[in-house]
């Protein structure tokens, strides 16, 4: 530091300490990522960088400032809203309306049965059909989904990982039957299976064959579909599951490296496919951190790809889609979500995203309505048309703070990437369950900060709204959707050439036994009207279905509450319970149906155990009947059902029935947590649910309620 600046800084520091009555050195605040944020940054903070090059320009190495030279000044980001529900017919109507209102690209949400490779008529998926996305059973559904939407002009993004083969095949065949050659199809398929094993759990097959499928798709698209992104390497779901930004960044890029290796192992040259790799990040409420994350991601990816020997400049460039954070939305005081989403959107734009989805404010409760979807879309239209943010490329470049943060994030992420590489790459790390555990640990810490009030969430743990508004929600009658789908499947099965379908499926099974690119026999089967479920089963015969081992963290939650009065109150209630009843209160925490989002369930399990409950963890994808058997055999006092995919209206009554079938006198209490619209509360209470905990519920308060309910229930005996 030169003398003049040094003197200036000393003067500033004195004023700062006088104003705040605190030492400057004690005035840092630590982020979730473990980065110390100082109250002021200076030119000195731009020195000794190993990743960020402060003098670089947009569209130039190391691409920190953006993939293109002109960025939004030439063309703004693509407004790409993720949507899909019910039947293909209804989703198609919704898409067309959105396109008329200014949306530019489509992004398809599939329902959970489709993700997991089950047809709508499968008994296992009773509660899930058409719920969290659109149900696709055959190519006919896919054709309806894009009815009157010309696929040679519309870029389509598809969130699909498990049943990626039959779904991509259906898309290709739907295009062909619309008269569009596959080489003209543009868009993206998520095709990112590694993160499914870490957080989202919509996998079908074990990791190794799943990686082979990913590589097959990269190979096929690089040869036949030049306008189509073969993969969207996603950190989004990691942040949603509770990962901090360093974990999200590092694991996403490490996943990317693994996919590059998988494609190279198919004999492809890195430049054959690398330009069509795309990314997907979450944008949460930590405003500057999110901006820095996108800048760091581009910087690191360029370095990674150079090390892979990429020669084509386009191979070095990280292009990304972003979505505002779903987990930052609250059920309480829901209009606050519009404001949260707006800031998150601005973060994504200042970070230089290529396309963006903004969440609707009611998504902590249910699927968006037409009205809430409009507000979400307008959030972006206002940014594009009214604020002037498109007029300057990377406007925060040169900011002492943002540049420094970009460097800090890059460094921390690089350390984790190096660790993963030393372990032998992400497939191995995922199999060992390391990333999953790290993310759960981070999630539990975040939850503890909110519950203890050390992190403020407006309207939830501070500034609560005394008059909570009741918002309209979109209601899906999944029984009707299921009936419709079953009828369609039956009609198709009657009219198709069964022998030809069987032969095509046998071919597919055989192809899975050798190195054939599986998309080719898949397209053949789909063309003949084989269903998504049939195709998935044909491969399952060779690969088997994957069941995840479940590891749990413990002690992370409780550590935040040492000496906390509320926490100790619950602890002592549990001790008293044990003295009176001869055992601890025992709770079974479950997910039912095909909903694999288990962050909530895991956090509840670990924090309840920290307070003194004995907690049974059920496996994923259980049927209500299985849950009932498990609960009764272990004689639990209560079952906690975690639901995030809207299946609760079918699955909870089934669970009640299951309990009574085994034990007509069952006194097991059932409580439900997750995404549940207030309109459903009465229905659940009528079905003997004892308590409902929406998103943002304080876990200690919830635990106290549960122990009180259990005690009351036992005293009635």
């Amino acid at each position: 530091m030169n003398n003049k600046l040094n003197n200036g800084f000393n003067t500033w520091q004195k004023s700062f300490e006088k104003e705040t009555k605190k030492n400057f050195s004690d005035s840092k605040s630590e982020t979730d990522e473990g980065i110390d944020i100082k109250p002021v940054y200076t030119k000195d903070d731009l020195e000794n960088f190993s990743f960020v090059e402060s003098n670089s320009l947009p569209g130039q190495w190391p691409y920190t400032r953006g993939p293109k030279a002109s960025m939004y000044t030439n063309r703004p980001w693509t407004i790409r809203q993720y949507a899909g529900f019910s039947t293909a017919e209804e989703s198609n109507e919704f898409y067309k309306k959105n396109l008329e209102s200014g949306q530019k690209g489509l992004s398809v949400a599939f329902d959970l049965p489709t993700h997991r490779g089950y047809d709508s008529d499968d008994d296992l998926v009773m509660g899930d059909v058409g719920k969290a996305g659109v149900a696709i059973d055959t190519v006919e559904d896919m054709k309806i989904l894009f009815n009157n939407i010309p696929l040679d002009q519309m870029s389509v993004s598809m969130t699909m990982n498990g049943a990626v083969l039959p779904v991509l095949a259906s898309f290709i065949v739907a295009g062909e039957e619309q008269g569009v050659d596959r080489s003209l199809l543009s868009g993206t398929i998520q095709n990112d299976i590694l993160k499914e094993f870490m957080v989202r759990n919509t996998y079908i097959y074990p990791p190794e064959p799943s990686m082979k499928i990913v590589a097959d798709i990269i190979e096929f698209t690089s040869k036949e579909m030049p306008k189509f992104n073969s993969i969207s390497i996603s950190g989004y779901h990691m942040q949603e599951a509770g990962a901090d930004n360093v974990l999200e960044l590092a694991y996403t890029l490490a996943d990317g490296m693994e996919y590059v290796r998988a494609a190279i192992s198919k004999g492809l040259d890195v430049d054959d496919f690398a330009p069509r790799l795309s990314f997907f990040f979450a944008i949460g409420t930590d405003f500057f951190m999110e901006i820095a994350k996108l800048r760091a991601a581009r910087t690191l990816w360029a370095k990674i790809m150079k090390d892979f020997g990429a020669k084509n400049e386009r191979s070095l460039i990280l292009r990304t889609h972003c979505q505002t954070s779903g987990v930052s939305l609250t059920e309480k005081d829901p209009y606050n979500n519009i404001i949260r989403t707006s800031y998150e959107a601005l973060s994504a734009i200042l970070g230089g995203t290529q396309s963006l989805h903004t969440n609707s404010f009611d998504e902590a409760i249910a699927l968006p309505t037409d009205e809430s979807a409009r507000i979400a879309r307008n959030t972006q239209l206002i940014l594009q048309n009214e604020t002037g943010v498109t007029k300057t490329v990377d406007p925060l470049a040169g900011s002492y703070f943002v540049e420094n943060l970009t460097e800090e994030l890059s460094k921390k992420a690089w350390d984790i990437i190096t660790e993963i590489e030393e372990l032998g790459g992400m497939t191995k790390a995922v199999k060992a369950g390391i990333p999953k555990l790290k993310i759960e640990e981070s999630a539990t810490k975040k939850q503890a900060k909110v519950d203890s009030g050390s992190r403020v969430v407006v309207g939830v743990n501070k500034y609560k709204n005394p008059k909570e508004p009741l918002v309209d929600v979109r209601v899906i009658d999944n029984n009707r959707v299921r009936d419709d789908q079953i009828k369609k499947i039956q009609a198709i099965k009657e009219s198709r050439d069964t022998k030809a379908v069987d032969k095509a499926l046998t071919n597919l099974t055989n192809a899975a036994k050798d190195e054939t690119n599986l998309l080719i026999p898949c397209i053949e089967a789909i063309k003949l009207r084989a269903t998504v479920g049939e195709v998935s089963k044909a491969l399952e015969q060779v690969y088997g279905r994957h069941f995840a081992k479940s590891l749990s963290v413990s002690g992370v939650y409780g550590k935040h509450f040492e000496g906390d009065k509320e926490f100790m109150k619950v602890e002592s209630k549990i001790k008293e319970f044990e003295n009176v009843n001869g055992r601890r209160p025992r709770v079974l925490v479950v997910k039912m149906g095909q909903d694999g989002h288990d962050r909530g369930a895991k956090i509840v399990a670990t924090s309840f155990a920290d307070m003194g409950f004995d907690v049974d963890m059920g496996p994923l994808f259980q049927s209500p009947k299985d849950v009932a058997k498990d609960a009764i055999e272990n004689d639990v006092h209560a079952i906690g059902v975690s639901t995030l995919a809207a299946g609760h209206k079918t699955l909870v009554p089934e669970l009640m029935k299951g309990l009574k079938e085994i034990d007509p006198k069952s006194k097991i209490i059932v409580f439900v947590g997750g995404i549940i619209p207030e309109q459903d509360y009465e229905f659940l209470y009528e079905n003997n649910v004892s308590a409902i905990f929406g998103p943002g519920s304080n876990i200690i308060e919830s635990a106290e309620k549960v122990i009180d309910l259990i005690s009351d229930n036992l005293s009635k005996e």
Binding site: S554, I574, V615, P619, E633
Partner: protein, 320 residues
Amino acid sequence: MELVDKIIKGERAAIAKAITLVESSKDSDQQISRQMISELIKKPGKSIRVGFSGPPGVGKSTFIESFGSYLVSQNYKLGILAIDPSSQITGGSILGDKTRMVEISKNPNTFIRSTPSRGTLGGISMGTREASIILDAAGYDFIFIETVGVGQSEIVASNLVDIFTLIVGPGSGDELQGIKKGITEYADIFIVNKNDGELKMEASKTAADYKSALSYYKKLDELEKQVLLVSAIEQTGMEDVIKTINQIIDQNKLKGIFDERRADQLEYWIEEEVKHIIASDITKRLISKGNIPKYSKKVMKNEMSMYEAVETITNDTLKQ
């Protein structure tokens, strides 16, 4: 007793409640439990009790899922008592065993109960023996008792079962040093899991290492210890396991070892119960007399030695 009838009928909820009673630390529950067990013991079933133990990470639960699936496919009824080794640093436990027993937990011919170990000796919880009596009376053909293999657990667990199995992983040959004599006396079968994929060679080598080491420790009059290779993931070797179990049981029955073992176990059980009652009785007396704080003060003041204090307190407590 109504509960007893329901257990014998095999009613799932009754079996579950009965296990809760035997695990309960409440005096009134223990009284009912004793009465219930006395009645159940008079109506024994024909279960074979098999113990499974092994170090963490060798795939015990996965093996039980795989082997259990095979047994139920052969129409056996299977009860599983899983002692969950989950951490007890913090208050409660997370019982996650069943997440690795997805298929068998669905089957109507299984009953699976997890119990937190609570750090008791060898991970065997209070009530495990009684729980196996309940499942026996309820008509289960096999009762598996799964414990994590740490320290003394094998010895305690082997006292509850007719046949005891140690599950190990490939490359555990180095641990043979640690096995030494103790365990060979307790385990009847050694199962080397993960005989699949890249680990196949290693698994075979480990099995061979075990075989040679075990023959070295073999006593003259003893049956040869069995070493089996399985893959829980690929479900291979399962017929061998059941065949071996049945063989050993048949031989033991023929030679009278089976009954001898059960008699020894009964003796051990009685001894444990008596010790338990005496200990808790004397502890109560010890605490009510308040001698410990009284005499420790004297030791602090150098009025008597520590050993004098111990002797005085012991005599005073045992005095009628």
